[in-house]
Symmetry: C2
Subunit: 266 residues, 2 copies
């Protein structure tokens, strides 16, 4: 760190960081923000290219941040020190951890989803809440899923709250972002069965064979699955619920289906 | 509504509402806050006694609030109108819905958990995040669980963020709050098997019989289960994860276990 620290909340780089909270800004710059120790550790582990790492040592939690910063620097990141006030302004969190990076968005073509080795894929269509999308990525990672297809995104996966709720698994799970028709075509071509989950499903999810290549498809919190998926599905399944239906959130439904697939495969 | 509306942010009743965000205040007054249309609907449905309902019609979302207010009034609630500024101050939300009530805390004795009819119980020990505890309640409701025991609470279930994340299922799922030893004693006495879930479990959760009376026990996000539960457990199970272990959150683990119990019982 040879440069002087940023000390002003009106510094143009701080303002640019704040602007990246907006999707339009992320779309037009092709960049996004990664904040937090765990998230950045996973990003660096996954060889995500970090352009700039803003650091505020006064806010470190004591997690071995020095090693993380060294690692980022070795991989070519510019390291910029920031004093506490401007860092807090740039941060998306109530309790910032003193680490915040800008990275170019990485490729999210549908070819990133492995098609060999008995794929287990999660498709998340038009998910609205960043927390749900992040939890889906996190759960797919736990389940060792082959990948996650974010179809017709409402919330884009580079939203800072997705990065956060995913705990950085956004960088470790193979991720594709595409429209639903292209995703259906890809799954069809590669011989991956489509299991659409909806409260109006015709079979219980556990009555369906998930031991072969399969994609579990979950729809938006408010509108459920689109007809693209319902029409294309090899099976339309429900999660039988003795209680009230609206009590199962989208990420929870994804987890229940993914872990049922694992159970069947064990 | 015969009284004049509250128009000042320094009105003592507004200040009292703000203070109820603190657990100490809830403990000392024996009261808590229920905010939002869906949450209040479920509370009234479940015959939770509402002492006072603060309303700000300018903020209504158009959900048939008038019927809800009538219902609350018929059940004895005092209705107090509040103008927008003081209502926003009292509200816990970014987008308040114009409905916020104070209710006396209801009983949470362990005898509230039904012991007949092949019980399926969720035990949540020392959960730290209100969002997780709320999601657990919501998921238990979806699963039609007999009840939820909140053991050695770190976050108390009357925390406004638990009420919110539960979507009001806090009022519909039988709920007990107690210490872990008393909960173990209750489960033992009533012949409910104890299934403790931990990453260090000795059996896969799906290899264990959950068709009989069973309590699924999930520990805190940071520390896992205490020895009280690990020692008392009839089975110590794990959720096998091909991916990374810390990617499954506590509420998700609860959901996977509850829905596996339902699958086995189907």
């Amino acid at each position: 760190m040879v440069t002087d620290p940023i000390t002003s909340t009106t510094n143009p780089r701080i303002k640019a960081l704040v602007r990246l909270r907006d999707r339009r800004e992320r779309d037009s710059t092709g960049r996004f923000v990664i904040e937090g120790y765990r998230e950045l550790s996973r990003a660096i582990q996954a060889a995500i290219r970090i352009e700039t790492l803003y650091v505020c040592p006064a806010l470190y939690l004591g997690d071995n941040e020095a090693a993380l910063v060294d690692g980022a620097q070795r991989c070519g990141a510019e390291i910029v020190a920031v004093t506490e006030e401007p860092f807090r302004k740039a941060s998306y969190r109530e309790r910032p951890e003193g680490l915040l990076a800008v990275a170019p968005r990485f490729g999210t073509g549908v070819d990133r989803i492995p098609v060999s080795g008995n794929p287990l894929v999660l498709v998340a269509e038009s998910i609205e809440k960043p927390g749900n999308l992040g939890t889906m990525l996190r759960t797919a990672e736990a389940a060792g899923a082959s990948g996650v297809i974010v179809a017709d995104p409402t919330t884009d996966p580079f939203n800072p709250n997705v990065v956060r709720a995913s705990l950085g698994t956004l960088f470790t799970v193979p991720l594709a972002v595409t429209d639903s028709s292209a995703a259906v075509a890809h799954l069809r071509t590669t011989g991956i069965r489509i299991l659409a989950a909806t409260p109006a499903g015709t079979e219980a999810y556990y009555a369906v064979d998930m031991t072969g290549p399969v994609a579990v498809v979950i729809g938006s919190e408010q509108y459920g699955l689109s007809h693209v998926w319902l029409d294309a599905a090899d099976a339309v399944v429900e999660i039988p619920m003795p209680g009230s239906v609206d009590s199962l959130n989208a990420a929870m439904a994804a987890g229940i289906l993914l872990f049922e697939a694992l159970r069947q495969r064990a």
